[in-house]
């Protein structure tokens, strides 16, 4: 009897593994997933690997080496559908900080012998290299959203993924708005929903780890933050984290880091 379950491959590029581990964290549903699909390649789960083609490839991580730039094209060629998960794969990740830094500045700060490294000067999202069928934002991604994407793929329907702001999740959860009620610096109004408003529910402003919402206006939020007493350096740092490689956040971080011009925009 042939196994007719769709084959799924999970691929890692420059990343921390956190997003693919999110799949294993779906503890209550993982056996159901493993029953509905055949994991043909998933090194975090099994050393066994089956050659492609694959029905669905789930790709984590960014492209930071020549070798990975070649490998992602192979993955694309052998995959019917390819979805990218996490800030690294969709925006370049925290390692994309190096994209706007002086050559080797980060490598020199982190490694004792950066001359042993063989990597590109940039960290770029998967979609900059190959066609991507769906991007799932987050650092890490939400287990619920990943499950929804896999379920929707299996059912052949469009996944339900909000493109709006985290604010709407805070409101649905009944979380009192931290910026308004306490003056907390919070990226929620410009950040894509998906986390359920996790940080604000724990009295912490949104880090923006899900990247920009569709239609985000980070410039207007920045103006307000500066008026309320956030320094330019603090505001720049807010935007220069996991999604700095997404121009919506990255350009804002760069504008804030640039020397202040007379009468210039923040």
């Amino acid at each position: 009897m042939t196994d007719e379950r769709p084959t799924v491959a999970v691929w890692k590029f420059a990343s921390c593994d956190g997003c693919q581990l999110t799949l294993l964290d779906c503890e209550d549903e993982f056996l159901a997933i493993a029953g509905a699909v055949r994991f043909a390649h998933f090194p975090e789960v099994s050393r066994a690997s089956v050659d492609g083609p694959y029905d669905l490839s789930i790709v984590e991580g960014s492209i930071t080496t020549e070798e990975d730039a070649r490998r992602i094209r192979e993955v694309r060629t052998s995959s019917r559908r390819l979805i990218t998960v996490g800030a690294c794969a969709t925006a370049g990740g925290i390692q994309a900080l190096r994209n706007s830094a002086a050559d080797g500045a980060y490598a020199g700060a982190v490694y004792a012998h950066p001359e042993y490294l063989s990597s590109l000067g940039t960290s770029t999202p998967i979609a900059a290299h190959v066609a991507v069928d769906l991007e799932l934002q987050g650092c890490p991604i939400s287990a619920g959203q990943l499950l929804e994407v896999i379920t929707a793929e299996l059912a052949g329907r469009r996944p339900v993924l909000p493109s709006h702001s985290v604010c709407q999740e805070c409101k649905a959860a009944g979380t009192v708005c931290l910026p308004v009620s306490r003056g907390t610096a919070c990226l929620g109004p410009v950040t894509r929903a998906g986390c359920g408003g996790l940080c604000p529910s724990l009295d912490r402003g949104c880090f923006g780890c899900f990247g920009p919402s569709v239609g985000a206006n980070p410039r207007a939020l920045t103006e307000h933050l500066l008026e309320e007493g956030t320094t330019r350096a603090e505001a720049a740092r807010l935007f220069a984290t996991f999604n700095v490689g997404n121009p919506v956040f990255g350009d804002q971080a760069a504008a804030l880091s640039a020397p202040e011009r007379q009468g210039g925009q923040p």
Partner: protein
């Protein structure tokens, strides 16, 4: 002047009112202090109410502080509105499962014990009236809303402490409760802490009759008048409603829409704190077993997907989305529901993370009206 049945109760009488409503099987819900804001939760006595708390509100700013004193209602509305009591942020409409080729559809049981709203403000009472018209007053009745709304007991409290963001006087919805209540209280603190009670329904009269009360005196009437006059005078904002629907209709190309879009985050907070915004999205979601759930959740006209038709969003720009919200609320709502969609509670001003003020936007459009209309004609 006191009307028949009106009375004065003290705090013990108020406690007795709440106890009587609970004895009659109502879930008693009212304002409480939680997470540094006035929110809604179960209240079993006046001890649960926000005694001694005052709020400070401004565009994009809300602070709550304990100032002491006997007042239970010395604050204006917080971020929560009573909308979520009857129209929750997310709910399952139905579930379907397939078993041996048979599709079974089940609807969650929407029936609940009736709720008594303790301390609902006049602006919020008007907002409920608006929602009633929208969700159960037309040809199509929202059954789940209607089931939750049925048998609601309304114990309103007139507003004596409007915020700087309030403008219910402009909208004719406050500071005194006009109609739609079973009992309406006015908190009086001059000399002795007590409440002037107005009766708005037979059910209200019946409940009031069961608690210790005293007749209304001239001093009570005078103090109540003073409280309401003070509230009108303390209203922080004004919205000039003269010819408002026509004004907005005639200015859809006004440059102000682009200007406000420069500041607007398109985050949707204004629509979610609004006590009358009723838009929702419906999603069908499958699970791995093949079961389907139809879910309804609050939606916002600030979402790009809200106006998504077959080839893309109709309102792709923030400018067009802000305009949609404001013109619907203040203008086309009249065409659709024969009334204003705005009750003047000021939540959208306070809870906008960057403090955009709709009264200021309307005033700017009014100020530029002559010029714009002149250009267009």
């Amino acid at each position: 002047m006191a009307s028949d049945g009106d009375a004065v109760i003290d705090r013990h009488g108020f406690d007795a009112l709440i106890a009587e409503l609970r004895r009659r099987g109502f879930r008693t819900r009212g304002p409480v202090v939680r997470d540094q804001a006035i929110l809604h939760d179960e209240v079993s006595s006046t001890g649960d109410l926000p005694g001694g708390w005052r709020d400070q509100q401004a565009p994009g700013r809300y602070r709550l502080e304990q100032v002491g004193g006997p007042e239970l209602f010395g604050w204006a509305v917080g971020p929560a509105s009573w909308k979520s009591e009857f129209f929750p942020p997310e709910e399952v409409v139905w579930r379907a499962s397939v078993d041996d080729g048979q599709v079974t559809v089940t609807e969650p049981d929407g029936t609940t014990e009736p709720v008594a709203l303790i301390g609902i403000r006049p602006c919020e009472l008007s907002a409920l009236d608006v929602l009633d018209r929208v969700l159960q007053g037309g040809r199509v009745v929202d059954d789940r809303y209607a089931a939750r709304r049925a048998g609601t007991f309304v114990l309103a409290v007139d507003c004596g402490a409007p915020a700087s963001t309030c403008f219910c006087s402009s909208m004719g919805t406050g500071p005194a409760a006009g109609s739609g209540y079973d009992l309406a209280l006015t908190e009086l603190t001059d000399g002795r802490h007590r409440f002037h009670v107005r009766v708005g329904s037979p059910a209200g009269a019946e409940v009031l009759a069961s608690v210790p009360r005293e007749p209304v005196g001239d001093g009570d009437v005078a103090e109540r008048r003073g409280v309401l006059e003070g509230a009108r005078a303390g209203m922080g904002r004004v919205l000039d409603t003269d010819g408002l629907p026509g004004l907005l209709d005639g200015n859809i190309d006004h440059p102000r829409w682009d200007e406000v879009a420069e500041r607007c985050l398109s985050c949707g907070n204004c629509t979610l704190v609004c006590p009358t915004c009723f838009c929702s999205d419906v999603d069908d979601v499958t699970d791995l077993s093949g079961s389907v759930e139809r879910r309804r959740r609050w939606a916002s006209c600030f979402d790009i997907e809200h106006s998504f038709l077959h080839s893309g969003p109709v309102r792709a720009s923030t400018s067009s989305r802000y305009r949609q919200w404001l013109t619907h609320k203040l203008s086309t709502w009249w065409d659709q529901f024969d009334g204003s969609g705005c009750v003047g509670c000021g939540r959208c001003i306070t809870w906008c993370p960057v403090g955009i003020d709709l009264t200021e936007e309307v005033a700017a459009i009014r100020a530029g009206d002559r010029e714009t209309v002149g250009d267009a004609s």
